[in-house]
């Protein structure tokens, strides 16, 4: 990775963190649990990394591929489970019937 590239990524990191802080600062306590489980599902974005790492053809760096596939399994659990459970929770939040 070149240093220019690293700088760009740092820009992305700093700006995204700022956006994150701004967006979440005023979330009402009612939504703390869904926010947490919803953002937890988002952290399963490593699934993208897992797919990339599951890439190499068989025979080439077999351990990397195996690790990638295991990572993919856990990341999928995290992503799918996280979204489904958040949706289930949010579905229950109702105003007066």
């Amino acid at each position: 990775m070149s240093i220019e590239n690293l700088i760009v990524l740092l820009y992305v990191l700093v700006l995204a963190s700022y956006v994150g802080f701004e967006l979440i600062a005023k979330v009402p306590p009612t939504l703390h649990t869904p926010l947490m489980s919803g953002s937890n599902a988002i952290s399963g974005i490593t699934i993208v990394g897992a797919i990339i790492c599951s890439g190499p053809l068989p025979g080439e760096f077999p351990l990397s591929k195996i690790l990638g596939i295991i990572a993919l399994f856990f990341a999928t659990l995290n992503v799918v489970g996280g979204y489904v459970v958040t949706d289930r929770m949010l579905q229950m939040f109702k105003k007066k019937k």
Binding site: T30, M36, G38, I47
Partner: protein, 467 residues
């Protein structure tokens, strides 16, 4: 397809996904848009996954698809089956999976680079691999311990031993040294294993000294870590969408952590050092008889409710343990039919995770506009006839306002003691998590309703029906 065009398509898809993640998380912050926000974010994830699959050779699709299918099936099954009362441990478990996934991705990428003779590992990659592995490992084992504690599989109390902090500090230093060696000599795997092993160990050691009621802070913090781990993995793989979504999660976790700490009037450091209440338990243990309490029976309690015109209910972790949320809702409806106003007062750290009470009561079909935050309801207690406290203790302890010697002094509490009558549904006189006496129980306007919350409230409802 033309390779360059493909790259452009993928990068643009990542951009779309990032924007959708941001919109989704923004919508998650408002009650009426939250569910759609979650769906937006799921769509973003789907776009990111499909775009990434485009990069891969068709040859390796099979394993990837099978893994995703199996993972999705298991994830959906677990998420559909879990009880709402088990939500805290569920979140901890999924969080841990995210952590282990980051560790494995970083390790996989490290292994490939370390064993590919054609690639010299750049310094930046070495550093980010190390960070990704450490934070991912701490997230994984830390979340697993939190899961164990919350689900009751592991003793939920603070587990401390002498020299604990020194031991952790030494481990941390050792990990730091190994990390430096790894960065300087990236092709030597042994350092990698050392860093990984210590990271996993530190995750366990840093969470075991933290007791049950501090769990809201720990879960929020671990949630933040899982985002930060994903973020560093993004640096390893030079992938923006990982960095952006990881940063969003990291920020949201840190904000929740701050809110939780503030609600307990404790610093993050003091929570992390753990062992809260250990010293005072012994000191307060002997004086349990100092407080003279008045008991109340179900029948009398029902009469008090019947003659009230306003009721505030303060739920706590005890309500979750007793699974009393449904019967509480039934009681609420019954009282409202008698033209009695009923509100719920929610302390930010009631329960074992941020917003725990809100989820439980939502599941029992209590409309969310009846759940009032601490700041908005505290002035109302003095104009309220009856305050019913169910399984809450420290969050209503007036010592937080009046007794500078109390370990919870300064913690914002619900002013339940100001209500004309306070009925406390409690199993026994045992002290709360902080291990301190609650002088409220001895107040002249306080009445103890002893017994399992679900059983006693059910009886109260029975009595109310006959009135």
């Amino acid at each position: 397809m033309n390779q360059q065009l493909l790259t452009i398509i993928i990068q643009l898809s990542y951009l779309v996904a990032s924007v959708l993640f941001i919109i989704g998380i923004k919508m998650l912050g408002k009650t009426h848009t939250a569910r759609r926000g979650n769906i937006y974010s799921a769509v973003a994830m789907f776009i990111a996954i499909v775009a990434t699959l485009l990069v891969r050779d068709v040859l390796s699709y099979t394993e990837i698809f099978v893994t995703i299918l199996v993972g999705s099936a298991v994830g959906t099954y677990v998420a559909k089956k879990v009880e709402m009362t088990q939500m805290p441990e569920m979140v901890a478990l999924f969080n841990g999976f995210g952590g282990i996934s980051s560790v494995l991705v970083a390790t996989s990428e490290y292994w490939r680079m370390a064993h590919d003779a054609n690639i010299a590992m750049p310094l930046v990659t070495g550093i980010t691999v190390v960070l990704s592995v450490i934070i991912g490992a701490v997230t994984f084992t830390g979340s697993m311990v939190a899961y164990g504690k919350l689900s009751g599989k592991v003793n939920g109390n603070a587990i401390t031993f002498s020299g604990q902090h020194a031991f952790n500090a030494i481990l941390f230093l050792a990990m730091l040294v190994a990390s430096i060696f790894l960065v300087l000599d990236p092709n030597n795997d042994i350092y990698m294993y050392v860093v990984l092993a210590i990271g996993l160990l530190l995750g366990i050691l840093t969470v075991i000294p933290i007791g049950g009621a501090d769990m809201p802070v720990v879960i929020s913090l671990l949630n933040s870590y899982s985002g930060v781990a994903a973020c560093f993995t993004g640096f390893v793989l030079n992938n923006q969408v990982l960095i952006i979504s990881g940063a969003l999660v990291g920020a949201s976790g840190i904000i929740l952590t701050q809110i939780m700490c503030k609600a307990m009037n404790r610093s993050l450091v003091s929570v992390l050092l753990g062992g809260f209440g250990q010293g005072t338990t012994a000191a307060a243990g002997g004086s349990a008889s100092d407080i003279q309490v008045k008991e109340v029976g179900v029948e009398e309690a029902a009469m008090i409710f019947d003659s009230a015109s306003s009721v505030i209910i303060v739920p706590g972790y005890g309500m979750a343990v007793a699974q009393a949320q449904h019967i509480v809702r039934e009681m609420t409806e019954l009282l409202e039919k008698k033209n009695i106003t009923v509100k719920f007062a929610i302390h930010p750290v009631a329960g074992r995770m941020p917003g725990h009470m809100n989820v439980l009561l939502a599941e029992a079909n209590v409309p969310y506009d009846k759940l009032i935050e601490m700041e908005n309801i505290n002035d109302e207690f003095s104009n309220t006839d009856v305050c019913l406290i169910i399984g809450a203790n420290d969050v209503v302890n007036p010592a937080a306002r009046t007794n500078p010697a109390s370990p919870i002094y300064g913690m914002p509490i619900l002013n339940a003691d100001k209500a004309r009558t306070v009925i406390i549904s409690k199993r026994s006189m045992a002290s709360g998590y902080a291990g301190i006496e609650n002088e409220l129980f001895g107040y002249p306007n306080a009445l103890m309703l002893f017994g399992d919350a679900k059983a006693t409230i059910t009886k109260v409802v029975g009595e109310l029906k006959e009135m």
